[in-house]
């Protein structure tokens, strides 16, 4: 299967793509799902250890918390609910069993993809004239610049 590649117009200050969020409880025996939450507003953040999802996604599925966790950002810490999700990446591959923090109503993105996902793939950004973002999953290594 081809690797995912997206070329933006100009140089971007953020990497934003589409993703699909799945409720693990919806998984059928053959690996299919009946529905997903699609958004074209998912940011990739190598500075985040964890993945965040918006309150809207939590509400859309009626997700139940699987735990609580402390989340420490620039301004300090706060305890929040954790949810288990599957994440469909732009290459139409699903990464299972992500424990995602609820980013609440204030998240600028519907999904913030953290290193719990990025660390499973090869991830490349180039910026000659235009920002080009590409990744492949699973990681095959061997990329040197």
């Amino acid at each position: 299967m081809r690797n995912f590649r997206k070329q933006y117009n100009g140089i971007r200050k953020e990497i934003v793509t589409e993703v699909a969020v799945f409720d693990p409880k919806d998984e059928q025996p053959n690996g299919d799902f009946s529905q997903h939450f699609f958004t074209d507003n998912a940011a990739w953040d190598t500075g985040s250890e964890a993945t965040l999802i918006s309150q809207e996604i939590v509400d859309a599925f009626g997700l139940k918390p699987v735990g609580k966790g402390g989340m420490f950002g620039i301004g300090g810490g706060q305890t929040g609910d954790l949810y288990r999700i599957h994440l469909g990446l732009p290459d139409k591959k699903i990464i299972k069993n992500i424990i995602a923090f609820n980013g609440g109503d204030d998240l600028d993105y519907d999904v913030l993809i953290g290193m719990d996902v990025i660390s499973k793939m090869d991830f490349l950004i180039t910026n000659k004239d235009n920002t080009v973002f590409s990744f492949r999953h699973p990681s095959e290594g061997g990329v040197e610049l």
Partner: protein, 65 residues
């Protein structure tokens, strides 16, 4: 564009698992910051002095020039 949508059979396929969540640690660094909407225009114009938001999604900016 966003919202709940019907998933067509075979549209997505399962490819792997996320990195194992560290339940024992119970914390994660999420150095994500945002600009409060009411400060966005001023931020873009470079005339803001401070935009601050409490909570786990937190942004604090100070004009330096």
């Amino acid at each position: 564009m966003k919202g709940l949508m019907k998933t067509n059979p075979g549209e997505y396929r399962i490819a792997g698992e996320a990195a194992k969540f560290d339940w024992a640690n119970k914390t994660a660094r999420v150095p994500y910051c945002r600009i409060m909407p009411q400060y966005r225009e001023a931020f873009n114009q470079g005339t803001y002095e401070k935009a601050e938001m409490p909570g786990h999604i937190y942004a604090k900016f100070q004009k330096t020039v």
